[in-house]
């Protein structure tokens, strides 16, 4: 047993955080028309989009490394579709046995493909005719949505044979998150994207979803870390009654509780990422549900505390506090909030107990 980041892992975090802070927007207004291409190219050039993939496919590192990168980008509030158009489609294509050239186009940053997610199961959606008018925006019966799909020219769905196909996407509309977008898939508009491999097995789909959950949780850990840091800096400098507000116990205890939440959240996310490559599918999936449920629950409350500590400024364009909260809201809904995952955990554990495990 040795549950600690290595030197290399710490350096990876520092390097990606540094790039994202240097090349990201310097103010809240800067998010509104941000051009993400330079940061995207740097991430691709550094190999970040292929983390956890086999070297034969142009990948490097581990899923844990991908999780570290996701955390660093969350912490910096980086407006790049690292998960949605980078690691997640790359791993899905690899699972289907797609042409290495297609995978290379994704991990080299040349082509942004998103993944259309089924709003009920949070697995890659199946290719079906458009659901028609009156369909709900989210939840069962809603059309497939591609999360974190900025700049993508198509989204991966599952075709009739269970293999991947690519379809078009609606244009991005501004959502609550200033750093990433959700786009509706256009299932009636298939796009030729080359050889995308064969049918995905049920286990491959489960593994991919566990991967996606683990990496979204890692992003949330970063958002929590960055948000808490902002709140601590503010509380240390903002003065009322002649002293820094961070000297008041009401503020200290609120923020101490948030640090405890980040610590617990990080531990669950780090384990979930490790388990994806080192433990069996059942265990990895349970760890993924666990971290997504935990981060969604404590993460939202942490970001609310960050806004609270900033007072009125926290809800204005002068301050990044609400940008953390909004990214957290996106992540919380991305692939299911804590209510959905707690239900899965309860079902899983009931079934296992019934089998005497």
């Amino acid at each position: 047993m040795d549950v600690q980041f290595s030197e290399e892992e710490l350096l990876l975090h520092e390097s990606i955080l540094g790039q994202a802070e240097k090349l990201g927007p310097s103010s809240v207004a800067g998010y509104e028309d941000f051009d993400d291409r330079l940061l995207w190219e740097r991430l691709a050039a550094g190999g970040a989009l292929g983390l956890g993939l086999p070297e034969a496919l142009g990948g490097a590192g581990t899923v844990s490394d991908a999780s570290i990168a996701a955390s660093a980008l969350g912490q910096a509030l980086a407006p790049v579709p690292y998960l949605g158009c980078g690691v997640l489609p790359a791993h899905l294509l690899a699972a289907a046995g797609a042409d290495p050239a297609v995978i290379d186009a994704v991990i080299s940053g040349r082509r942004r493909l998103a993944v259309g997610v089924d709003p009920a199961t949070f697995e890659p959606a199946t290719f079906e005719p458009a659901t028609g008018r009156g369909a709900p925006a989210m939840g069962p019966g809603a059309p497939a949505m591609a999360w974190d799909a900025a700049g993508a020219d198509g989204a991966l769905l599952r075709g009739a044979d269970g293999g991947l196909v690519v379809v078009g996407l609606d244009g991005p509309t501004p959502g609550v998150d200033l750093t990433r977008v959700v786009r509706r898939c256009q299932p009636h508009r298939p796009i030729d994207a080359g050889d995308l491999g064969g049918p995905l097995t049920p286990d491959a789909l489960r593994w991919w979803r566990a991967l996606a959950l683990g990496l979204v949780a890692a992003d949330m850990v970063g958002v929590m870390q960055g948000g808490l840091q902002l709140a601590v800096e503010h509380a240390s400098t903002r003065e009322q009654f002649g002293v820094a507000i961070g000297s008041f116990q009401a503020i200290q205890h609120l923020l101490a509780d948030q640090l405890v939440s980040v610590a617990g959240a990080r531990s669950t996310a780090v384990y979930a990422a490790w388990a994806l490559q080192r433990r069996g599918l059942d265990e990895a999936e349970l760890a993924a549900h666990t971290t997504k449920a935990y981060c969604s629950d404590v993460g939202k409350r942490l970001c609310e505390a960050v806004v609270q500590v900033h007072g009125g400024m926290g809800v204005t364009w002068e301050c990044r506090a609400h940008v953390f909260l909004k990214r957290m809201l996106f992540d919380r809904a991305f692939l299911g909030d804590e209510r959905w995952h707690l239900r899965r955990i309860a079902e899983r554990r009931r079934t296992e107990a019934g089998r005497g495990l």
């Binding site: 640090l259 531990s267 669950t268």
Partner: protein, 373 residues
């Protein structure tokens, strides 16, 4: 990053499992019967010691096995998984104080008995006027020619009525900064001038005691460390008390979580609350493994152990409430006293070993670096 056992750790775990299967101590008595609880734990400690499972990370010359602390974590995990009480937790942290601060003679005199369960110990730290503000303690040790004369009162002294020895904090300087005038002593509980008064707790037992010192004489040679070393010693003891030693408790939580699956099945509200508690326990368990790794690598426990403790409180109290809710009515009618006892004990989790509020102060000021007033 590796959560798996090394080959040696895995072999140890298997050997331990086999031993536990053959040496089941039987069900623990209810926490409302403190004498039975004490005797049960003592017997179990002696059995574990005889089996070679205690003092795993202690140096061999004092009866230990000289292994790294991961082995203690494995021991605690397996004890919890087997549904048996974890092994006399104070042994670890009191022993740590004597190991770190005691003389060679003191280590040889006290550690083997502490480990084997031949002697029982209590921890005389808190006082009526010094709970969260421990450094304000007023029990005084007056230096004579070759003895100290102890006068004062201790409170919350767990198991004092059964103890042979007490690790005592007392003031040895009347003036100067309050953190610097404190010294530590090992005190024989049969010393004339010591009176123990157990008091009854909300859950029925008498785990805690008051201890009165009325001119009890303690040999100078029973001081642990130099005069004035008491505060750093106490800090070490409390940090060990808070940290990964909780891993044994975690294993117990996991067993309790499994036991609650049946009673909550089919009730979505209860099932979701149970899943939430499961997630809280996982966060705590996984975080403790990180703290344990730091300890194995030689880091002395510091303010980070307050994070461990706060995560533990969240998990413990979520579980206590779940168990209460599952059987609320039978507790009120008196048909089931064990469950409300379990719940009431969980409320003590945010007080013992330094209250939740003190832990938050430590996290806010010593980790987040927020300004003190």
């Amino acid at each position: 990053m590796d959560y798996d056992d090394s080959p040696d750790e895995a072999a140890f775990r298997l050997e331990l499992r086999a031993w536990l299967a053959a040496n089941d101590p039987g069900p623990a008595p209810p926490i409302s019967d403190s004498l039975a609880e004490h005797e049960y734990k003592k017997r179990w400690q002696q059995a574990l010691y005889a089996g070679g499972w205690l003092g795993l990370s202690w140096p061999e010359e004092y009866g230990g096995r000289g292994l790294n602390p991961f082995y203690e974590a494995i021991l605690n995990e397996e004890l919890g998984a087997a549904g048996v009480s974890h092994a006399a937790p104070p042994v670890g942290w009191l022993g740590r104080a004597i190991l770190n601060y005691g003389t060679e003679e003191q280590r040889r005199r006290h550690l083997p008995g502490l480990l084997s369960g031949e002697t029982s110990w209590c921890q005389g730290f808190s006082e009526p006027g010094a709970g969260s503000d421990l450094a304000s303690l007023r029990t005084f040790a007056e230096r004579g020619h070759d003895t100290y004369t102890i006068t004062g009162q201790k409170l919350w002294t767990s198991g004092a009525q059964f103890a042979d020895w007490c690790l005592l904090l007392a003031r040895t300087a009347r003036d100067g900064p309050k953190h610097q005038g404190i010294s530590a002593f090992t005190v024989r509980m049969s010393t004339p001038g010591i009176t123990v008064r157990p008091f009854k707790q909300a859950w029925g037992g008498t785990r805690f005691c008051e201890v009165f010192f009325d001119g009890a004489e303690v040999p100078v040679g029973d001081r642990v460390g130099e005069e004035g070393d008491g505060w750093p010693l106490a800090t070490v003891v409390l940090a060990y008390e808070r940290g990964p030693s909780e891993l044994g408790v975690i294993a117990t939580y996991r067993a309790e979580l499994r036991d609650l699956i049946g009673p909550s099945a089919g009730d979505p509200v209860a099932e979701d609350a149970l899943a939430r508690a499961y997630v809280a326990v996982e966060a705590c368990r996984l975080h403790l493994l990180e703290s344990l790794t730091r300890r194995v690598k030689g880091e002395t426990p510091g303010p980070g152990s307050s994070i461990d403790k706060l995560l533990m409180i969240r998990a413990e109290q979520a579980l206590g409430t779940l168990e209460l809710d599952a059987t609320a009515a039978s507790g009120l009618t008196g048909e089931d006293w064990a469950t409300p006892s379990r719940y009431l004990w969980s409320r003590a989790a945010s007080v013992y070993g330094g209250s939740e509020q003190i832990q938050r102060n430590i996290v806010a000021q010593r980790i987040l670096g927020l300004p003190r007033r």
